[in-house]
């Protein structure tokens, strides 16, 4: 289990949280040599506005237990999700946060690094908040070694509806370049 990495994506229904997990999971599983990934998501009668989360577990070995236990990375896009899941961040884990939607508290001190991005505001400059999730993933891509931009763009182009591809690419780029 030594190479095991656990990522928790969380926010509210409608932000495309599950899509984030599915894209990252596929990029790693099919395009990152020697790595496996499993994506699981909270599944329930919730709809837009309710809490939504998903996990991507990555390992160079076969992944036995498919869910997260203590996150290495916590990518969080809503206040509710932050409070619900922050206790499960690993000591020294890394937080990626939608800074306008989440107010961090003392729990965040156990993180070794906190990356902040106004992902929704960035998306709004492109005409829709729908692009916030991809802006966040561009930001994650630029600040971790989790996956390569090339592989991500390839997978996103295949998975996202044609009319959204172009703006998602811009959102990814803006997220990537956010300091």
């Amino acid at each position: 289990m030594s190479d095991r990495i656990e990522i928790r994506f969380a926010g509210f229904g409608g932000q495309g949280i599950a899509l984030m997990g599915r894209l990252v999971g596929e990029v790693i599983s099919l395009h990152e040599e020697g790595k496996n990934s499993v994506m699981t998501q909270s599944y329930g009668p919730e709809s837009r506005g309710g809490a939504s989360s998903c996990d991507v577990v990555i390992d160079t070995q076969t992944i036995d237990y498919p869910k997260s236990t203590a996150f290495d990375y916590f990518v969080v896009m809503s206040e509710e999700a932050y409070h619900k899941y922050i206790p499960r961040l690993k000591e020294g884990g890394i937080i990626f946060v939608e800074e306008n939607l989440v107010t961090l508290d003392d729990h965040a001190k156990k993180a070794s690094k906190i990356h902040k991005i106004p992902a929704t505001a960035i998306a709004e400059t492109l005409g829709s908040r729908l692009y916030a999730n991809i802006a966040m993933l561009g930001f994650v891509c630029a600040n971790t070694d989790l996956f390569s931009e090339e592989a991500f763009v390839q997978v996103m182009k295949a998975k996202v509806r044609a009319r959204f591809i172009e703006k998602n690419l811009v959102a990814f780029e803006k997220g990537k370049n956010h300091k």
Binding site: M1, R22, G25, E26, S29, L30, N36, S37, V38, M39, T40, Q41, Y43, G44, P45, I63, D64, Y65, P66, K67, T69
Partner: protein, 388 residues
């Protein structure tokens, strides 16, 4: 829906990152399934959804029925019409199907039923995991019978075991259940679909004798009668009543004994061919975890964790749940101090293990009652606690 080809290939060769529900559907297509009759139910609905898209593209047929009783009846009929057929459901739907699963057993009708288990009883936990239909799959229909049920624990195995399920159904002429669960059904991981010619497909035996005087229930030496379907020139008979080799009702003690003995023996005598198990770290094991389906993923994690702590723990996974591997478990029991079973129910497989072990080792069930899966850590803690 840009891809509207009729006669599209049934085998969607390639590498995918997809869910267990889609993988079991793809495996069924690869096995040659041409008919899906069903009624969507959480957490199995994606199987029906995927088949409703793919079957019409490949010369197959998808029908959504008014309920699960009609669904199971339709797949029996489709099979007698010569199509490999399936349905997918969850516990509440499986309960409704049980009567006609019995009809499928009695009429020796090849077909596949996917049960993506959720927490029960009744409507229970529609969106959350369960493994509570294990005994139901064995004994749910009335009467005495043998049955085959398989339990995948990965997305890849959902595909692989769908092919196996159709092959076993065709070979033994029996309804085969794939016991999945909500977590396996909805989680995504890598699926590799091989090229069509790399996938072994078994088709039901056809009669080779003259149509005149043909006996549709006269079995060969392997206890399985060849199966003619409607329209091939042979008399086709299918009844739920006890019947003779002609397929005519024969309501007497002797006919019952002859027929039922054969229906039981065609599975019992082939147990070694049907049963598939996965063993891990068993050689020097003092303790063994037996598990299946999603619970086995946590169990294997627990074995790795326990080994790091110096505990000699091994693992046996039931890929085939029914028929039950009595002999293999009895053998393991004679070599170990204790057997642990992890399952998301209150002891359905544990009962079977206790029966098979016959007191040769201690048996401890580690149960979840539905809605959540074990974690490797809690399994190891429980083993440590009970073996102090």
């Amino acid at each position: 829906m840009s891809d509207k080809k009729i006669n599209a290939p049934m085998v969607n060769t390639g590498e995918f990152f997809t869910s267990g529900n889609l993988a079991v559907a793809e495996g069924s297509l690869a096995a040659g399934c041409k008919f899906f009759g069903g009624y969507p139910i959480t957490p199995s609905s994606e199987v029906a959804e995927h088949m409703s898209i793919k079957l019409p593209q490949s010369n197959g047929h998808f029908v959504q029925f008014e309920d699960e009783i009609a669904s199971i009846a339709s797949i029996l009929g489709a099979s007698w019409g010569g199509w490999k057929s399936m349905t997918a459901t969850s516990g509440p739907g499986y309960s409704l199907m049980l009567e006609n699963i019995g009809l499928g057993i009695m009429t020796e009708t090849p077909c596949v039923i996917v049960n993506v288990q959720r927490g029960g009883p009744s409507t229970g936990l529609p969106t959350l995991v369960g493994q509570q239909d294990i005994q139901q799959a064995r004994w749910g229909s009335h009467g005495d019978y043998e049955i085959i049920a398989l339990s995948p624990n990965s997305v890849q195995e959902c595909f692989d075991l769908a092919v196996t399920a159709f092959n076993l159904a065709e070979e033994y002429r029996v309804p085969v259940t794939i016991l999945m669960d909500e977590t396996i059904g909805h989680m995504s991981e890598k699926l590799v679909i091989p090229e069509a010619d790399k996938i072994e497909i078994v088709n039901r035996k056809k009669p080779t004798d003259e149509a005149e005087g043909h006996l549709p229930y006269k079995a060969d030496d392997d206890l399985i009668p060849p199966m003619a379907v409607a329209g091939e020139g042979y008399n086709v008979m299918a009844t739920g009543l006890t019947h003779d080799e002609r397929g005519y009702p024969a309501l007497d003690v002797n006919s019952q004994e002859v027929l039922l003995t054969r229906l039981l023996d065609k599975i019992r005598k082939n147990k070694d061919k049907i049963i598939k198990l996965e063993e891990y770290m068993l050689d020097d094991a003092e303790f063994v975890i037996i598990s299946f389906g999603i619970s086995s993923r946590a169990a294997k994690g627990a074995v790795n964790l326990a080994r790091k702590k110096g505990l000699k723990v091994g693992y046996l996974r039931l890929i085939t749940i029914w028929p039950f591997p009595d002999e293999q478990i009895a053998q393991i029991a004679s070599k170990v101090k204790a057997i642990f079973i992890t399952e998301i129910n209150s002891g359905q497989v544990t009962r079977e293990v206790q029966r098979a072990v016959e007191g040769k080792s201690k048996v401890h069930g580690l149960f979840k009652l539905g809605g959540a899966i074990h974690t490797p850590t809690e399994i190891v803690e429980e083993i440590e606690r009970r073996t102090k």
